[in-house]
Symmetry: C2
Subunit: 336 residues, 2 copies
């Protein structure tokens, strides 16, 4: 028997989650059975989409049940094993939950090569985050050299990878992010221009930096920034609906994109996708991202917050305050 | 010299056009020069899109200039000709404007075969209206047998043709229209179900008649009906943005589609198009529609209003009151 501290959903939040949302419990784990293994988790991914899983609304994944351990991706090391593919000592990634240890039968778990990149990067540029950027741009955006690509939440996990993929593919890349530091960093990693939505008029600035219009808008944010992008589409544009973080904590239904008829005038499309939609292309995508990282055309950055699982709730809120640059990850390895 | 009465744009309207919007003038036409011909117009098409051309806003076509003859498609007969392709007596269709006679050099003009169908039908099911339905469903909607197809303004020109194309292709077709008569007619022409948006809750009724969700939503209307359709999408759905008549006369910016994130959850897309976008496919489309009409699987209906060009303004308003079933057309042949 081993014990694990874990974070459970105590109460569904209205608006921003707070302390009442979460409960930390210490639970015993059964020893791994035949075909199972035990993982000591070291890093936990913090994802804006988690906010959606807290609402009792049917979506692409079922809501987290009240009282259940919060769903989360993580990385860790196998410490006991009765599964041939996951030997003791293997570094792995999977949906283990917000917990210190987990027993798994290997479903959805992959071994990671930590000589290529550290665990945080396997949750970021070389994980779901990188796949989201990659599949969004290629499968939905039909990215091509010469495209003008605009990305919101550009200095975040998905956005910063997306910008670098687009840059490497020969596109002109414009990032939208909050604050001068983030904008400066975007220029450093190859963005052709950066717009600080907190101090600039995005609609007008887009018109300046993309005078011929936008071919691809990679939307992580929704709200007014989406409208500003719609107002600047070029004929045949693709709006990639990746997320809408600006409204994840809304307590009244947020307005829709007022300028959607720009899609008609410009014969453009707006299309949603989920990172899970292209499993047969994941391996090639990760290989491509790893190659970019190796050759230096992909800078993978993470904001790593040290803490225990009990800090999950507070750390999660950082996403909505923009307190991360690159992928937001918790490191719990130093604590237990 | 011949004279022609014609309708000019006197003043840009705010909201619904009224008498001040239009001016009727009587003008002299020069005799057709070499390569030109004179057309006696018999039918004029009334299109919701005309409302957009009255605003001084750049769009897919330039606005009608103040003082210019109102842009309109029409049909007529060649009465004088110095153009080999358009001999005297030929029935033709083209963008002649709201006028009784026009001199043309043949640009955008086609000869029509009135033994196949009358002139009003050449403005409707076998004209731009039919092409809009056809290209929208095939090029944007990727219509396939077995699809569940929902169409708004279903008893209008475009909608009624779209429904019949979808039905003939083996789709399940649901129409949304105003009033019991229109709904009854939709069932007559092959729609599997009809929803009267004036007396029924569209969102709830869609859930009933399309319990597995919508594969294609052909949107002519926008507004709340678009939102109701978005709330009922099936995975991989296509929302064809054809028009948004519910907001064409809005004096304040109408809200956007609040439920657009359904596109993400359902990996769906919303895509705009214009009927002019597929010129290389027009002939085949018209041939297909004519064949459907000949074999009886396409009922082409027009609401034909007899009058003079001076009645254009009042007749145009009928579109926004839903006073047409099928394509709305003016017949001016009996008058002058
Ligand atoms: N479709 C999929 O399968 C899929 C998969 C993964 C992620 N996603 C989506 O992708 C987006 C990015 O996710 P991520 O994990 O990479 O997170 P992230 O971008 O690293 O973190 C969120 C960032 O969003 C920005 N932000 C927060 N509130 C905002 C607001 N009200 N207006 C504008 N910007 C705001 C903040 O940056 P600033 O400082 O610039 O404001 C913050 O750093 C999210 O919408 C997420 O839901 C979708
Ligand atoms: N993309 C393109 O290239 C293209 C080309 C042609 C037409 N279009 C668009 O296609 C649509 C249909 O055009 P059409 O020529 O066939 O006209 P139509 O459908 O024959 O006439 C308009 C109909 O719209 C309905 N309507 C009017 N106001 C409405 C409202 N507020 N809410 C809901 N329904 C309303 C009325 O029917 P009810 O009695 O049912 O309310 C009316 O009969 C229009 O949006 C038009 O702009 C687009």
């Amino acid at each position: 028997m081993v014990t694990t501290r874990q974070v459970r959903l105590a109460q569904r939040p209205t608006g921003l989650p707070d302390d009442d949302t979460w409960e930390v419990t210490t639970d015993e784990l059964p020893a791994p059975g035949e075909g199972e293994f035990l993982v000591e988790i070291d890093h936990i991914s913090l994802d804006p989409a988690m906010r959606g899983w807290l609402d009792d609304v049917p979506s692409y994944l079922p809501p987290v049940r009240l009282g259940a351990v919060m769903r989360a991706q993580g990385t860790g090391t196998v410490s006991q094993s009765r599964h041939p593919d996951f030997p003791v000592g293997a570094a792995v990634t999977g949906t283990f939950g917000v917990t210190e240890r987990a027993v798994s039968d290997g479903t959805g778990v992959r071994v990671i090569d930590t000589s290529i990149a550290g665990p945080a990067t396997w949750l970021g540029a070389l994980g779901m985050t990188g796949l989201t950027a990659f599949h969004g741009l290629h499968e939905v955006g039909e990215l091509a050299a010469g495209d003008t690509v605009v990305i919101s939440a550009a200095a975040g996990g998905v956005g910063s990878v997306a910008g670098q993929i687009a840059h490497a593919a020969g596109a002109t890349v414009i990032g939208i992010a909050g604050g001068p530091e983030k904008c400066a960093w975007l220029r450093e990693i190859g963005f052709d221009a950066a717009i600080d939505y907190k101090s600039e008029n995005v609609l007008r600035r887009l018109r300046e930096v993309a005078p011929d219009g936008i071919d691809i808008y990679f939307d992580n944010v929704g709200g007014e920034i989406l409208d500003a992008a719609l107002a600047n589409l070029r004929r045949g544009a693709r709006v990639i609906l990746c997320g809408a973080i600006a409204s994840y904590n809304a307590t009244t239904p947020p307005p829709g994109p007022r300028r959607y008829m720009s899609l008609l005038v410009n014969r453009a499309r707006m299309q949603g996708f989920l990172v899970f939609d292209y499993p047969e292309k994941d391996a090639a995508a990760i290989a491509s991202l790893a190659a970019m990282a190796a050759e230096g055309s992909l800078v993978s950055r993470e904001t790593v917050v040290d803490g225990s699982v009990a800090d999950f709730g507070a750390t999660f809120l950082r996403l909505f305050r923009g307190e991360n640059t690159g992928k937001l990850v918790m490191c719990i390895a130093e604590i237990y």
